[in-house]
Amino acid sequence: MTFLNITTNARINFNAIVAINWLILIMMKNKSSVIKVIPNLQAAKKHVIKLSEKTIEKTKYINNFLSELTNIFLFINHTIKETFSREFEFREFTRQCFQIGYKTLPIISVTGTIMGMVLTIQSRPALVHFGAVSMLPGMIAVSIIREMGPVITALICAGKIGSGMGAELGSMKVTEQIDAMEVSSTNPIRFLVVTRVLAATLMIPLLVLYADALGILGSWAGANIKGDVTFVLFFSQAFSRVHFDDLLPAVIKTFFFGAVIGFVGCYKGYTAGRGTESVGIAANSAVVLSSLLVIIVDLIAVQITDLF
């Protein structure tokens, strides 16, 4: 059974529940001269009506949720199909790589450096207490490379890139630019969505590696605030603790972070409503949903890594 069939059947079943509930409501609300109104029956009738109304409300909510889920699945399916199209929009793809990659460098530079510094300053006292301050560089490096660097960078990118995509595509939807693209025989999914999703998928891992490097640099700076450790010593201690199986799973999951941010940002923008308010809603919901999904993907990645 395909995913589409499951959600369609679930919708049909819920629609049947809604129909039955409406029937109960109509029967209950119709006054019949044959049925004598007894106080207990009247109370039961009210309770059933209330219950039916709540059930209808819930089924409509679930119906909408399942419809949304189907739309997301179809959107992802369409995007993946267009990714392997012969007429790939290479020029737009490189422009998006520049927008997503190069233009995010300043904020990632600041975030990465501060992340390393803060982590070092916070961790140092505990390690000094245990007389294990020599383990500080290694601990920071492993923390940044395995978890802090990828997740914090992805969350920053979800805010900057995800909201940017949601707002840009949302405003294009509102001002009929996407329709204009469609009527000029350009596939808007191929031009707008595929290029952005691919660019995000490829650029975010590079941004994460950049953030990791700056994080370790910031950690060295942080270590020198209260201590005194040379650059060479710090880095040799840091990388002596880092292994290939710290780096590889972290890099792999950043590709998924990038894909999630790209898909969510594009989906929210592409399916924005027709009013200007919907542009703000698209941008906001793109950030919220992509941030949440980054955390969930991280959890799944950690569980999978743990198996090995």
Binding site: S171, T175, E176, Q177, D179, A180, S185
Partner: protein
């Protein structure tokens, strides 16, 4: 006059009586609201057909159905002999290359300059052109709309009238056979509106296009129409030439042509 009436058309300046668009019994609803109930119309080769109607009467939905931005619920639309609803995405793409659509808001791409906006459809539809030919074509259409100086500007730097003219330039640059205008003069001052109406006539003469012009601007209708259809409440209310509309004693039509 409440029933749909077809008045004899005057001598429209058409090249032939070949039909480029035929619509039969078109119906479209959004939820419980029936926007188009039973619309049938024809567009002849070389003519400007003006579709008048109040706001919300379904005019924009009509032309969006023609180019299949919206799928109708019932009815058939035939464009250049092809049933639009039955086309697959490749054939629909090929058909759309022959149709120009001028959006109400202009729909210029904000992230691209005027030059890039004009090159965009040309590079995709006329792939055989080299860059020199593309540049010549861009300069030619900009000259036609009187905006040669706006080549390197961005849409945010243009006035409403300039944006509409650049949008028109972007539409005609691919030499379409059919033009669909969605409220071309909305939001523009009378002088600029006259300019747009003149451009519509110039496009008809120079590019030999057949056009459907959706508008509630009577001056634009007067300037451009070979034939007029009025849509009211999702149905064709009256069809004829401009003179018959102007002389009509029907209350609704008189309210338009005050």
């Amino acid at each position: 006059m409440n029933a749909t009436q077809t008045v004899t058309t005057s001598s429209a300046k058409t090249n032939s009586d070949n039909l480029v668009i035929e619509i039969h019994n078109l119906r479209k609803e959004f939820g419980e609201q029936e926007v188009l109930k039973n619309v049938s119309l024809q567009l002849k080769d070389g003519e400007n057909l003006v579709v008048l109607g109040k706001s919300g009467s379904g005019k924009s939905v009509l032309i969006q159905c023609i180019i299949r931005l919206i799928d109708p619920d019932e009815g058939t639309i035939s464009v250049l002999g092809k049933n639009v609803s039955a086309l697959n995405s490749t054939d629909l793409g090929e058909l759309r290359k022959k149709i120009g659509f001028l959006f109400q808001s202009g729909a210029l791409y904000d992230s691209m300059s005027v030059k890039q906006n004009l090159e965009f459809p040309l590079q995709r539809i006329k792939k055989h052109l080299n860059q020199k030919e593309i540049d010549e074509k861009v300069n030619e259409v900009l000259e036609n709309v009187g905006l040669s100086h706006a080549l390197h500007k961005f849409p945010s730097q243009l006035s409403g009238g300039m944006r509409k003219r650049i949008s028109l330039a972007r539409t005609i640059i691919v030499d379409p056979m059919i033009m669909l205008y969605d409220e071309p003069t909305t939001g523009l001052d009378p002088v600029t509106s006259d300019g747009i109406s003149s451009l519509i006539n110039d496009v008809q003469k120079k590019y030999k296009t057949s056009s459907i012009i959706i508008t509630h601007d009577i001056e634009c209708a007067r300037a451009t129409a070979n034939r007029v259809i009025m849509i009211n409440d999702g149905e064709v209310y009256l069809e004829g030439n401009l003179e018959e509309f102007e002389k009509s004693t029907d209350t609704l039509i008189k309210s338009f042509f005050k």
